[in-house]
Every structure is written in structure tokens, then in C-alpha cells.
């Protein structure tokens, strides 16, 4: 999927086989080959996906679009999937999930990520203001089940809100590269016309492709969109009368997604709606009834259960386990629970008591819990 470039071809050659051999591992024990390769070029790695930032653009006032050149370990993605981006801010690594917005068929092998910088968005603000071309970032492989099925649906309805536009943008661009013949409706919700990411490109696509219909819905009045206000059944029925025949893909803010999901569920169309949550519903934390203690076995530390998530409690105990989204999406914080019961803060569901892997950012201990941290 990615064409070779300088650093990729280096690692794709026979040298790559030598570097990932047992002998190379033996000679570089205990640090591993990667720790020596990065001496020569920070993107060289046998195991990790690293990428160089080649361009930083600002499509709208509060968004930033990054173009990344991944090394040869990047295995590509399916349109709609996300990846975990790790950047370093003031010496501290931060991980966030972003969906590539480019077509999976992009010939240059580059990855395009767009982030909206919220007032409280620590990482997105840094991406927008502090990231310079030339910076090397770490990526995960693509992940997530939200993606265009391999058997492309004929009638496609893409619904997005705000920065949730990125995965469906990738779907649209991918379908266009594949000369998709079926009808595609691109229904996008945002606050004002100026806030809309990819506005001019989408207008151009709609103008050039008879099978693509662009419906822009702005929350503010007099923005010149096709619709105004918020998602509703009536509005949907008027704008996309055949929505029941379409395979729908949805990504946006929680309130909007809930409204869309409700309509599809009421119509019994739940299996035709694919969705991606960028932000999770708020976690329910009840510190009042906390009992027992949290045992961090590997670090040999003990804390009185405060009722907070295990990630928060680990950090309060001075530990710094790996973490990412802190809302149960990215799985970066997954670790082994060796004993005890935890409650999923999103659903209230209780876990089994035995040994299992849990996401500590959304797990609240119920009584004494032992973790392998």
C-alpha cells in the first residue's frame, strides 16, 4: 500500500532480515536492535512504526492537518480505522487516537491526520501550535472495526459531526479512488461554515461526481448550508429519503451520535449503521462506597482503594503505567489483573474475579484488586 521512500527502502532490503535475526538480537542484548538503529536515523526501526512529519497545514482556524511519512513497518489501514499517535510534549510522551483521512490508495504512502484543537485539548493544541515539520512521531498499526467492508456497499451514507469527519473522509476518498458507482451521501454537521474541515475539497468532489451528494448542516443560522440546526428524524427523512436502503457510517460528538443511533434502532436498522466513538460517555465514578486496597504487584506498592479508576489510582501512587485515551478506546493501558473484581466505569458491568487483561483507564476496583504493574 505504501510506496518505497528512502528510509523505507533501507529497511525493506535484505538488511532488514539481518537486523531482525536472532544473531542481531543476541549481539544487541539487552537493549535490542532498534535502540542502536535510531542512532543513525530516528525513523529507522525493526519493530516500531515511526513517522516523520512532512507538512503541517491549518485548514480551518482551529484545526491542523498533519502529513506523515511512515517507515516500512506501517502496514496500511482500512478506510475508517484509527491509529494511536504518540508525540512528546515538554519531555512527556502523550498518546491520542486519530483516524487517517486520506484514501487507502494514496500513491505517495503518506498518512494524513486532522485534529481539532479544543480549548482543553492538550495534545491537539500542541499538534496545532508546537509541531514542526521534521519531527519524528511514533504510531501504532491501524486498529478498530469501524471501516469500509471489503465488499463495498453500493449505497453509502456517511454521517459525521465536527472532527468526526476524518474517518468518513477517508471512506469517501477511498471510494472515489475505486471509481465507486453507487450513490454516496456525505451528511456533515458542524457549527458554522468556517468551522468545516475539508469544506472546499468536499464542494469540489460534489461538483465533479454526479453520484456524490454533499449535505452540510450548520448549527448556526445563515451559514449557507443545505440544512440548518441539529440532527432529527424529520430532517433526515427530508434530506435522505432512502436512508433505510443505505449502509450508514457515523462518527461525531456523543449527543449527535446518540440521536442518530436512536433513529436507526427505532427503525430496526441497527445492523446497517456502523459507528466510531471519538469521545466516550462520561465515566460514572462513585468514590463513596470504595472498599479494599489496590495492590500493584510488580512495583510492590499498595494503595487504599479511593474509588477512582485503576489508572488514576496507579498514577496517584506514583506509578506511570502506559496510557492513552483514558476513555476505554485505545487499549494502550491494558494490563493484567491477577486478582479481584473491577467495574467497567462506562457500563457498570462487573468483571470476573480471576486473572484477565483489563483496561485500567475505565476499570474501577470493587474491593481488593491486584494488578501486574
Amino acid at each position: 500500500m505504501n510506496t518505497a521512500n528512502n528510509s523505507n527502502s533501507f529497511l525493506k532490503s535484505g538488511l532488514r532480515r539481518v537486523l531482525s535475526s536472532r544473531l542481531a538480537e543476541t549481539l544487541t542484548t539487552p537493549h535490542g536492535v532498534d535502540r542502536y538503529l535510531e542512532l543513525f536515523n530516528p525513523t529507522w526501526s525493526v519493530h516500531e512504526v515511526r513517522a516523520e512529519v512532512v507538512a503541517v497545514k491549518h485548514g480551518t482556524a482551529d484545526s491542523v492537518t498533519l502529513t506523515l511519512r511512515p517507515n516500512g513497518n506501517w502496514q496500511g489501514f482500512r478506510a475508517g480505522q484509527f491509529l494511536r499517535l504518540t508525540v512528546e510534549i515538554n519531555g512527556v510522551r502523550r498518546m491520542r487516537c486519530y483516524s487517517p483521512a486520506n484514501s487507502v490508495h494514496a500513491a505517495d504512502g503518506l498518512i494524513e491526520l486532522t485534529a481539532k484543537a479544543h480549548a482543553t485539548g492538550f495534545v491537539s493544541k500542541h499538534l496545532k501550535q508546537g509541531l514542526q515539520p521534521g519531527t519524528v512521531v511514533t504510531l501504532s498499526q491501524a486498529d478498530g472495526v469501524f471501516a469500509l467492508p471489503d465488499q463495498r456497499p453500493d449505497r453509502v451514507l456517511l454521517i459525521s459531526g465536527g472532527s468526526g469527519i476524518t474517518p468518513v473522509m477517508s471512506m469517501l476518498r477511498t471510494l472515489l479512488d475505486e471509481k465507486h458507482q453507487g450513490r454516496i451521501t456525505f451528511l456533515h454537521y458542524c457549527n458554522t461554515a468556517l468551522d468545516m474541515i475539508y469544506a472546499s475539497e468536499l464542494a469540489l468532489i460534489a461538483a465533479q461526481h454526479a453520484n456524490v451528494e454533499l449535505i452540510r448542516c450548520y448549527a448556526q443560522p445563515e451559514q449557507g448550508g443545505e440544512l440548518q440546526g441539529f440532527f432529527s428524524r424529520e430532517q433526515l427523512r427530508a434530506a435522505v429519503p432512502d436512508y433505510a436502503e443505505a449502509t450508514a457510517f457515523l462518527c461525531g460528538p456523543p449527543a449527535m451520535m446518540a440521536a442518530v443511533e436512536k433513529v436507526w434502532a427505532e427503525d430496526g436498522l441497527g445492523d446497517r449503521l456502523h459507528l466510531e466513538r471519538f469521545t466516550a460517555a462520561p465515566l460514572v465514578i462513585d468514590g463513596g462506597s470504595a472498599e479494599g486496597e489496590v495492590r500493584f504487584a510488580r512495583s510492590e506498592r499498595l494503595a487504599v482503594n479511593s474509588g477512582a479508576t485503576l489508572l488514576d489510582q496507579a498514577e496517584a501512587a506514583g506509578l506511570r503505567p502506559e496510557s492513552g485515551c483514558r476513555m476505554g478506546i485505545c487499549k494502550a493501558c491494558t494490563c493484567r489483573k491477577t486478582h479481584g473484581v473491577v467495574r467497567d466505569a462506562r457500563t457498570g458491568e462487573l468483571s470476573e474475579a480471576g486473572e484477565q487483561d483489563i483496561q485500567i483507564c475505565v476499570s474501577v476496583p470493587v474491593g481488593t484488586v491486584t494488578l501486574d504493574i
Binding site: P30, E88, N90, G91, G318, L319
Partner: protein, 374 residues
């Protein structure tokens, strides 16, 4: 009179509060500067290692190769490995510099070392029977340690410990003396505990003494001897630095009773009394992993070590304020003093009770604070 009798509970508490304030201030300031420092050192260490291994295969450059590889191993073990595994750089969230994931270029497993060092040695610093670093089960390092005939060999055994330091540290967790001398451990137990150690040891031995020599073809013996020399350099230096940090003659050892109901303030004072610094330039500090600031390290084991020099004047001011000793001197002075102690303790003889670091019974109501086992 020991210093413990002179200080009031309020003074202990005040010392704890003042030292905590230094720690919190540095913690709040961690960031880019620390990240750049440790990454710079890692880069330098890897450069020295690669250069050293290459030069060992080029006869005229062989002595330089030994020096470069020795320096690389010293940096890897001390300023990088020791400090990273204390969790000093965990705040960065970089898996390559994380205390739970890092492993070092020495025979000891990271896991065992974190137990004997971070937990036993740093929590129970210089407490007899608790801190295994007091003699490594091999030497007599304190008057309070009962004399046995085997301690007549204190001096030659110290030389042996320096020479094979990485292997002694690797088996430290096994507490071999319990099997060999005191018979409190069975051979089966020992074999079980040795398994993970041997797994790591084997990899280290294979790398330095089989694969790199083989890579040099006909020059294999040269590379073999070069690796022996580099490991020996690191062993002797690391052992000397560690001994200077805890065993110059004025540094106190403590009986086990000291840790009963010990408060945070008293724990801090014990760390102060049980550690010693040595002076030197920038290179000396880096090559000793900043253990030239052993006192600051024992007060704040999880602060990035390159910060110790900066906070040292504040620690000294607190020592002056409360009449606490701050033991420092040249490397040579501390080394001579340490060897004098080792020689003296070869022979029987107990400390006179009046001069001991006896500890007053603690106020039963004083809260038991968990010491910082970084």
C-alpha cells in the same frame, strides 16, 4: 551521643517537611530538560559501545576500544540503568526509559535488582540484616555484625568482590551465604532462584565472550580479552563508587530496631547518616551515575540524578541548620577510609555501646509512614 537522641520529634518532622518541599519542587519542574539530558547520554553510551566493539577488532585501536567499551558499560549501568530503573524518567512515558521495561548491560536481571536495590537497600539503607548491600553476605562491614573466622579474609574478599562485581550483584538476590554458611536455604531452593539469573547471565556471557569474539574471526582472542578488560573496568569502578557511598568510616550502620515505628523524618535522617558523597568534576559525576551525590540520591532516589548537584546546596543548608553531618571528601579519601574500615573489621571487636547509633524508643502514637521505596 547519636544524632537521633539530639533531635526532637518536631525537628524530625520539620526536616521531613523541608526535604519533601525540595522533592516536590523538582518533581513539578520535570520536563524537556531532563528528557534531553538522558537521551543525550543514551546516545553517547550507544556511540561509545558501537565504536568500542569496532575498535577492539582493529589491533592498533585495541586499547581505545577497551576504554570506549568500558566507559559505555559504566554509563549504561550507572547514569542510565541504575537511574532509569529507579523510575527517575518514568514521567516521560517512554517505554525505552521506563523503570518496568528497562534492562541493562550486566548480568543481574532488572527484576531482581529492583528488589535488592530499590526495595531492600533504599528502604533499609545500612540496616544490618535488612540491607544486603552491607557486605553482600560476603564481608563484615559493621561492628554490629558478629565476627566469624571467615571475615579474616575481609580484604582479599573485597578485592574479589570488586573483580567479579557484576556476577556478585547478579546472584545477590539468592543470598548465597544462607546456603553456604548459615544452612538456612536448601540447594533446591537455590537452583530454582538461580534459573532467571542464569537466563540473563548466559545471554551476557554469550554476547561478550562467544559471539563478538567469533565475529572477529582470527582476532577472536583479542576481542575476548578486550571484553574481559572492559567488564573488569566497569566492575571495579562500580563497586568502588558504591562502597564510597556507604562505607567510609564516619558513615553509620544501624541495628534492626531503628526501623520500628520510624517516621518519614527519621527515615530521611537515616538516609543522610548512612550515605557519603565524593567530590569531582562534571565527568566524575556522570561516570559515577551522580552517585558522587549519594546523600541526595538516598534522600530522593526517584528524582533525575543530574538534578542532585543543583539541590545539594539546599540539602547542606538543612544539615547545617539541624546539626546533621554531611559526609563528603575526595574520591581517594573516601576510598582509603572505606578500605581502612574493611581492614579493621577483619578482626573481632564490637562497637562500644556509648558511641553507637542507638535509637530512642519512638513515640507509640507517631504514625508509621511508608518509606519511599522508589
Amino acid at each position: 551521643m547519636g544524632i537521633f537522641q539530639k533531635l526532637t520529634p518536631e525537628q524530625f518532622e520539620a526536616i521531613g517537611t523541608e526535604l519533601d518541599a525540595i522533592r516536590n519542587r523538582v518533581l513539578a519542574d520535570l520536563g524537556e530538560r531532563d528528557a534531553r539530558y538522558i537521551r543525550g547520554l543514551v546516545k553517547r553510551q550507544r556511540q561509545l559501545e558501537v565504536a568500542g566493539r569496532v575498535m577492539l577488532m582493529i589491533p592498533p585501536a585495541w586499547p581505545l576500544g577497551v576504554a570506549a567499551l568500558g566507559a559505555s558499560k559504566i554509563l549504561d549501568n550507572m547514569e542510565i540503568g541504575h537511574n532509569v530503573m529507579h523510575g527517575q524518567y518514568d514521567f516521560m512515558g517512554d517505554p525505552a526509559l521506563n523503570s518496568q521495561k528497562f534492562d541493562w548491560d550486566t548480568s543481574d536481571t532488572a527484576r531482581n535488582w529492583k528488589h535488592t536495590h530499590n526495595y531492600e537497600h533504599h528502604t533499609y539503607t545500612n540496616v544490618l540484616n535488612r540491607d544486603h548491600d552491607v557486605g553482600y553476605g560476603l564481608l563484615r562491614m559493621s561492628e554490629d555484625q558478629a565476627w566469624e573466622p571467615r571475615f579474616l579474609a575481609n580484604l582479599p574478599l573485597t578485592v574479589i568482590l570488586h573483580t567479579f562485581f557484576q556476577h556478585f550483584v547478579a546472584v545477590q538476590n539468592l543470598k548465597l551465604e544462607n546456603y553456604l554458611v548459615y544452612k538456612t536455604k536448601t540447594g533446591a531452593q537455590l537452583r530454582e532462584e538461580f534459573k532467571p539469573v542464569w537466563k540473563k547471565m548466559r545471554k551476557q556471557l554469550a554476547k561478550d565472550y562467544v559471539f563478538f569474539p567469533l565475529l572477529a574471526g582470527p582476532l577472536a582472542p583479542l576481542v575476548f580479552v578486550g571484553n574481559v578488560a572492559a567488564n573488569l573496568t566497569r566492575n571495579v569502578w562500580a563497586c568502588a563508587v558504591i562502597f564510597n557511598g556507604h562505607f567510609p568510616e564516619d558513615v553509620e550502620q544501624f541495628p534492626e530496631s531503628v526501623i520500628e515505628n520510624e517516621t518519614r523524618g527519621q527515615w530521611y535522617v537515616r538516609q543522610l547518616l548512612g550515605s557519603a558523597n565524593f567530590s569531582g568534576g562534571k565527568l566524575m559525576h556522570i561516570m559515577s551515575g551522580n552517585l558522587s551525590f549519594q546523600i541526595e540520591h538516598h534522600l530522593f532516589p526517584d528524582l533525575p540524578a543530574h538534578r542532585y548537584q543543583e539541590i545539594s546546596p539546599e540539602v547542606q543548608a538543612i544539615c547545617r541548620k539541624y546539626g546533621l553531618p554531611y559526609n563528603t571528601g575526595s574520591f581517594l579519601r573516601q576510598t582509603l577510609s572505606t578500605w581502612k574500615r574493611i581492614a579493621r573489621l577483619s578482626l573481632p571487636g564490637r562497637r562500644k555501646p556509648a558511641t553507637g547509633a542507638a535509637v530512642p524508643a519512638n513515640d507509640a502514637e507517631s504514625p508509621r509512614e511508608l518509606p519511599l521505596a522508589a
